[in-house]
Amino acid sequence: MRFWICAAVLAAASFGLALSPVNEYFFYAAYVVLTFVVLATAWNILGGYAGYVNFGTPAFFGIGAYAATLLFKSLGAPLAVQIAAGALMGGLLGFGVGMLTLRLRGIFFAIATVAVVFIMETLMINWRYVGGATGLQLLRPEVIAPFENYIRMLFVVMAWMGIAGVAIARYVQDSWIGRGLRALRDSEEAAEACGVPTLKLKLFACTVMGGLMGAAGAPMPMYLSFIEPASTFNLNYTIGALGGAIIGGMSHWLGPIIGALLLGSLQQIVTVTISGEVNVLIVGVLLVLFVVLAPEGILGLLKKIMPRSR
């Protein structure tokens, strides 16, 4: 109950914020940070609970973005439809990748997901209709009533998506699905022998993860008014999603939120004050430091400091 009250308050707050006279730049930056919250939360459903490392975040993100672009260009579909299509395509790709878990684990699965990214990128490079290698300029439609401009609306959309994503992750974690995923993370054979439907659970986790990532990618073309393959299928999304989840802590749905908010904000600050390259370097360095020194992430550190809290 407490969770839902918090969620409702946050949803209302983001809406209120978008109508308030806050500086425009805040929404530009916050949108990106919130995207990483969704991506890290989605990544954690498969990576944290089930222990399958997905390096393919940009593939799911990108298929969502391109599904949205396609619908927008051909039919002029509204944003909600674009997001639904992005989620659907991301989910389908997730299901396909989930089939790979039948045979592949650990690094083999991880490398296979990298392959999916590059294959998707090559397909889009060679698909003229959605812009090919040079990309496609998109003209944003008129913004819907209470919002002053499109970016403010996208900020609210992404905030709500983040809340929805976290609610899903929380449900997965606390239900029998999460227990099953944790069981198969520790030992797939033992879980299967105990009657855990491992394949079904893995497919479910992959599909949900893909769907969320696809949905997170869908508004991106509208945010940039532009789409091109090299930046859409960039492995920087991989390290952002994985870094957020690992740095925050993979054992609880709170972890990716903390990690992504922290990393994302830090990256935004560094991009402005130092340079765009350094912000990826920071994620890399923090990621390596955390996996070596604090493998349980920030949540683990907090638990050590306050052993009595959950």
Binding site: L104, I111, I246, L281, G284, V291, V292
Partner: protein
């Protein structure tokens, strides 16, 4: 799509040269990942680091190949240190090395890549030597000398590593570690020291591979991302840890990529390695010469 027998032959010839080059860049990974089971996704990044190190040394007037050879001991030490760090942080703790070990190497790859961007910028770098830019003319075919040099060095590298692993005591110990670590421990050998040595060799070889990389074409910091596909494709297709398999798989990828390049165009070429990788992983994960 335009097809002719001459083009096919040319693509085949170029594919063989390219394939040997790909073997050379993958052979280090064949040891570190294939034999030692280290999830070394930073292998291509370390190789690109080798390219830039070669670039620095070669700019002093040295031959790029010689620079690569001179850098091998330095990279050997680097490899020993990386393995030691990985071992202390993950392998020894044992618990859940999977997710975090992978994340560690992925993070390492990014650190190397961005480090190179910060120092050298995103521009492409090349080295100069007499054999770069010139071509051998064979009737109507032209074979660039740089490909021939890469071909030669790749063959020497592959055969010497194969011999080392099968004929010398340490080489056999490395293979033994891959087969059965506890048994090796019972024989009184220290598997960690052997793995450390082997990882050092794998990284040392990457320095020379990096030199070949910058001889064959211009290098930019983010080029390692493409080579994740090529190197892992070859090592997995080879069957983990098989050196002759690595050569065979390298040739297969080289020829396949060269064919696609010739008949479908350059924009499809990057997908070949990743497509083949996905195919192998999906159909025959143990590879051609699987152990």
């Amino acid at each position: 799509m335009f097809f002719s027998f001459e083009l096919l032959l040319e693509a085949l010839m170029f594919g063989v040269l390219l394939g040997c080059f790909y073997t050379a860049v993958s052979i280090g990974l064949s040891v570190s990942f294939g034999l030692l089971d280290v999830p070394h996704v930073a292998h291509p990044a370390i190789m690109v680091l080798g390219s830039y190190a070669t670039y620095i040394v070669a700019s002093q007037g040295l031959d790029p190949i010689l620079s690569g050879v001179l850098l091998m001991p330095v990279f050997f030490v680097l490899g020993v240190l990386v393995y030691r760090f990985y071992y202390e942080s993950f392998e020894r703790r044992g618990t859940e090395a999977g997710v975090r070990g992978l994340a560690f190497f992925f993070g390492l790859a990014f650190i190397i890549e961005i480090g190179l961007i910060l120092v050298f910028g995103v521009d492409q770098r090349t080295v100069e030597a007499a054999y770069i830019g010139e071509s051998l003319e064979l009737g109507e075919y032209r074979i660039p000398y740089r490909m021939l040099v890469a071909f030669g060095v790749a063959l020497v590298l592959t055969f010497s590593l194969t011999l080392y692993l099968s004929k010398t005591f340490t080489g056999r110990a490395i293979k033994a570690v891959a087969q059965d670590e506890p048994a090796l421990r019972l024989m009184g050998a220290n598997p960690v020291r052997i793995k450390q040595w082997a990882f050092g060799i794998a990284t040392g070889v990457s320095a020379l591979a990096g030199a070949l990389l910058i001889i064959v074409g211009p290098v930019e910091p983010a080029i390692d991302r493409l080579y994740i596909g090529r190197t892992f494709c070859i090592v997995v297709l080879a069957g983990l840890g098989s050196m002759t398999g690595t050569l065979a798989a390298g040739l297969i990828l080289g020829i396949a990529e060269s064919m696609v390049l010739m008949f479908f165009g350059a924009s499809w070429a990057p997908a070949v390695a990743f497509g083949l990788l996905l195919l192998v992983l999906g159909v025959r994960p143990q590879g051609l010469f699987g152990r």
